[in-house]
């Protein structure tokens, strides 16, 4: 049956002045398949919607074109009208004659508006309904990494009733902050105790992720636990794999030289023979992109000052404080009496009478400064945890230029990954630090609860769909999909073809564009629908 | 008449050969000049076969010229331009005209030369070529047919001691030694430690095989860099490039000659290997200068 298109043109309460609506209406009515044209001034208001709804029924309309304001503002409203009138909400083409026509140009734009409406009509003619379906989701969550961020995530997820498996590579939970209690507000030991008593959390220590298959709501994860391998199904996965330090530090650790992390453990130890009275930090961060070294230095300098008293000096080239909470941390340290010395040339460091001598030229005072300290705290190199590279290729997610998870893509910021149901939290993201971890954890937990809490989700079925007859199984789409939403499936005759997982698909259309066999249809943005719009150029 | 190279290899303490590149064209005056200049100063003249895949007067023709003028010639045969029929024919012809030495090589790729669209042959590889010469030496052709009048070539081959990684190279050298050669002439070497390691490897496999170190004077930093980039198998180390770069303007050639002579001296004094093979392509007239400088004249 030929489609019957209803065209509704609205002047947005008279705010569109440079279009001759009655002329436009008359011309549009002559277009093929246009069964009904209506002019309105208040289409998105109650009366307008009611009138539209009754016209849809009365005129037996099965495709709708609305020419009014930007679809970004009111598409939803009109979709509801369609659905209210018993039509599939997808059978709607919204033509933007306001922002991108009337308001974008000076003079009379009736001609242009007509062409835009024609583009909409052409597209509407080819629209097909999209059905919705309910997909069950597994509610269990895997949290990888038993450090602070991993443990906090597990605890909060459990509170919301989501069962969690907490996986840790080492033989015990705690991560980098194991044994740190009460330092920068951490309560590691009590957290571990809490987890051990939590029936909703299962802890796997000495365990690693071997393989991740499937998609959101249904990830099959192969886990190596000690010597055995097991498979479990999860609805979502949180990675909290942290970072590593050391590697190429210029100093060997000794009784008088340590790292910020080493200092943290010294601060925690109760049996320290003698508190160092003078502590000198040398902070010469070459990696200005990372806030982690500055964060670690400031945190421990402040803690040393607060816990031990004594004198604390930070020799630094530059402290970048543009990370979250960094500026206040810096101010707090200064207020507590931590002294900052700014140098340009690397300080000279030598051992003297069991102490460490730091000589530097203070560029602000313009004079040479010498400090004899009991303890030198040297900056460390921060790098992604061992195995981050392997894991990221396993998951098919990207890392940033330094090898940490997540680049600063504003669309994914802060904790989501390009794969639905997979999240990153804490220091494995490169720039975190205790303060931001807390907010990140809540963010992950809320997202997961929203996603998995109901145990099912309603998605559009086959919006992007592979035609199994046309698919040549070249795997181009499988390799190209940024969201890992394409897999292979066996069709009736046993041949393998590509299949798009509705739930994991984010609707970008990269696969549709790249398919060399033109076997992927993206309803709403199909080739025919795009070409039909192009067709309308120069026709009016 | 020059001594047959086979004899020289057996008897002489330090062997010196030089490379003679054929001309592009048919004018023989320059090659004749070079032959006259070098034939009595070196133990053999070794003639390249369309070197670097650049089309030239044939190795065979130039070898005949050397022979006619009383020199000792080594015929180079690559696998790039001829199939097994052509190679066998050329060998029979060479032998019949008194050429008794053959150097078996794979040959540079067509892609580095001046006829980049030619069809590369590589019907055989260098190991197979060595076997082929032995087969002919035994009086039969490759297909097993008897030859009317046999041949008895002295066989040599090449190797790259500075290859990276070296192991696969050595596997191949091992195969060449097993096939049976009398001498190995190396690709240009600059790092004598690499050469030492290589000679040790060869000695272990076959103590009788003579190793001639390939000497290519690098005459200027730019040229050295160019060679590193474009000439297969040549790796001039940075410190030599630096040394060349420090030479005063216009003194590049003499600096290159100085470095080459220094290396030859060291090879001889430390008895690193059995001799040298000097490749100073296009500047054959300067070879005596190197020899003199190295104390070999």
């Amino acid at each position: 049956m030929e489609p019957r298109i209803g065209v509704f043109i609205c002047d947005c309460g008279g705010s569109i002045k440079n279009i001759d609506f009655s002329l436009a209406g008359k011309k549009v009515a002559k277009s093929s398949n246009v069964a009904f044209v209506d002019l309105s001034s208040d289409l998105c208001l109650k009366e307008g919607k009611e009138k539209m709804s009754s016209s849809l029924r009365a005129k037996n309309i099965d495709r709708v074109v609305v020419a009014a304001c930007s679809p970004e503002s009111k598409r939803y409203v009109f979709q509801q009208v369609l659905e209210g009138a018993g039509l599939n909400g997808h059978l709607l083409s919204v033509v933007n004659i306001r922002e991108q026509c009337s308001w974008a140009h000076g003079g009379d734009v009736t001609e242009k508006a007509l062409q835009l409406i024609q583009m909409g009509v052409n597209r509407a003619r080819l629209l097909k309904p999209i059905e919705k379906k309910e997909v069950p989701l597994n509610k269990e969550v895997l949290v990888v990494g038993g450090g602070f961020s991993g443990m906090s995530s597990a605890i909060q997820l459990s509170r919301l009733g989501l069962r969690t498996i907490l996986l840790e590579r080492e033989s015990a939970l705690g991560g980098r902050n194991r044994d740190l209690e009460d330092l920068y507000g951490l309560k590691t030991n009590s957290m571990i105790k809490g987890i051990e008593g939590d029936k909703n959390i299962e802890v796997f220590t000495s365990s690693e992720v071997v393989r991740v298959e499937g998609r959101v709501g249904d990830f099959t994860v192969k886990i190596r636990k000690g010597t055995e391998e097991l498979s479990r199904v999860f609805g979502g996965i949180v990675f909290a794999t942290g970072y590593e330090t050391g590697g190429d530090s210029q100093f060997k650790s000794s009784a008088h030289i340590t790292s910020p992390n080493g200092l943290a453990h010294m601060l925690q130890a109760s049996n320290l023979a003698r508190k160092p009275r003078t502590v000198g930090f040398v902070f010469d961060s070459s990696d200005e992109n990372s806030r982690l070294p500055a964060m670690a230095t400031l945190n421990t300098a402040l803690a040393a000052k607060q816990k031990w008293g004594g004198e604390v000096y930070v020799f630094c080239k530059n402290v970048k404080v543009d990370g979250e909470g960094l500026e206040s941390l810096y101010s707090e340290a200064r207020e507590c009496g931590v002294v900052f010395v700014k140098f340009e040339e690397k300080p000279n460091i030598s051992a003297q009478d069991g102490r460490v001598k730091i000589e530097a030229r203070d560029v602000l005072l313009g004079e040479n400064t010498t400090l004899n300290c009991d303890l030198l705290v040297a900056e460390e190199k921060f790098s992604p945890s061992q195995g981050t590279g392997t894991l990221s290729s396993l998951l098919n997610v990207r890392t940033d230029s330094r090898g940490f998870y997540q680049d600063e893509n504003v669309h994914l910021y802060p904790v989501a990954s390009e794969r639905k149901g997979i999240f990153f939290v804490g220091d494995c993201r490169g720039d975190s630090g205790p303060r931001r971890v807390v907010t990140d954890v809540s963010s992950v937990v809320t997202s997961l609860y929203e996603l998995l809490g109901p145990g099912k989700i309603v998605v559009e079925r086959d919006r992007v769909k592979v035609d199994p007859q046309k698919c040549r199984t070249c795997l181009t789409c499988v390799r190209a999909c940024p969201h890992s939403a394409v897999g292979l499936t066996r069709i009736d005759n046993g041949r393998e073809v590509a299949e798009i997982w509705d739930l994991a698909c984010d609707g970008c259309g990269i696969c549709t564009a790249i398919c060399p066999a033109k076997a992927i249809e993206f309803e709403g943005y199909s080739d025919q629908q795009i070409l039909a719009q192009i067709e309308a150029i120069g026709v009016s | 008449m020059a001594k047959p190279f086979r004899e020289t290899l057996k008897t002489k303490g330090f062997i010196v050969t030089a490379e003679a590149a054929p001309v592009k064209g048919s004018n023989m005056s320059k090659p004749i000049e070079n032959i006259e200049l070098l034939k009595d100063k070196v133990d053999a003249l070794n003639v390249t076969d369309n070197q670097s895949s650049v089309m030239r007067y044939p190795s065979l023709g130039t070898c005949l010229l050397i022979k006619e003028r009383g020199g000792e010639a080594v015929l180079q045969i690559t696998c790039r331009d001829r199939n097994r029929l052509a190679i066998q024919g050329d060998l029979l012809f060479a032998w019949s005209r008194g050429i008794g030495n053959v150097l078996c090589l794979t040959g540079d790729s067509i892609d580095v030369g001046d006829h980049k669209e030619a069809k590369p042959v590589f019907d055989l590889d260098s190991v197979q070529l060595i076997h082929l010469v032995h087969t002919l030496n035994s009086g039969k052709d490759m297909a097993g047919n008897d030859l009317d009048g046999g041949i008895d070539f002295c066989i040599g081959t090449t190797a790259t001691p500075s290859a990276d990684p070296l192991e696969p190279q050595l596997v191949k050298v091992g195969k060449k030694l097993e096939a049976g050669v009398s001498f190995i002439q190396t690709q240009a070497v600059y790092e004598l430690d690499e050469l030492k390691r290589f000679v040790e490897f060869v000695r272990k496999k076959d103590a009788k095989v003579k190793v001639l170190a390939g000497i290519v004077p690098a005459i200027g930093a730019k040229m050295a860099e160019y060679m590193n980039e474009n000439v297969p198998g040549i790796f001039v180390p940075q410190y030599i490039i630096d040394e060349l770069a420090q030479a005063p303007k216009g003194k590049g050639v003499s600096k290159g000659i100085e470095i080459a002579a220094r290396m030859i001296r060291q090879v001889k004094e430390e008895k690193i290997c059995d001799g040298v093979h000097i490749m100073f392509i296009g500047r054959e007239e300067k070879v005596p200068e190197i020899l003199k400088s190295a104390g070999l004249l």
Partner: protein, 125 residues
């Protein structure tokens, strides 16, 4: 003819309208969910139907909602340029630009500049 990513350029165009930043009337926008949806074929078809210039407008580099969509689009635009050149461009222009959704001025500038280009080549022709 401009293919506008709904995550960036389409919103920028809307914003331009709301701010009454005028741009040439000969602009026709086709919304796409991501610049990566735009296929070389769409670009060529637009020329077949008489477009003088085709723009593909996507998110800023490194900020594509679908990670690789804008870089793929850029590659395709480059490829289209090659294809057009092969048949002797004839004053047909194709270009890719990146902008964020809150960049209406940049949107108008991109369109204006392309319009100038078309006009100039039109005069030459």
């Amino acid at each position: 003819m401009a293919f506008c990513c709904e995550h960036s350029a389409y919103s920028a165009a809307d914003l331009a309208g709301r701010l009454a930043l005028h741009c040439p009337e000969n602009l026709r926008v086709i919304p796409v969910p991501c610049a990566g949806r735009v296929d070389t074929l769409h670009i060529l078809k637009a020329f077949e139907k008489g477009a003088a210039a085709v723009l593909v407008l996507g998110c800023e580099e490194g900020a594509c909602h679908h990670l690789t969509g804008n870089t793929r689009a850029k590659e395709r635009v480059k490829h289209s340029e090659v294809l057009l050149k092969e048949i002797g461009g004839n004053g047909r222009y194709v270009a890719m630009s990146n902008l964020s959704p809150n960049a209406p001025h940049k949107f108008v500038k991109i369109i204006d500049e392309m319009n100038e280009k078309i006009k100039k080549s039109g005069e030459v022709r």
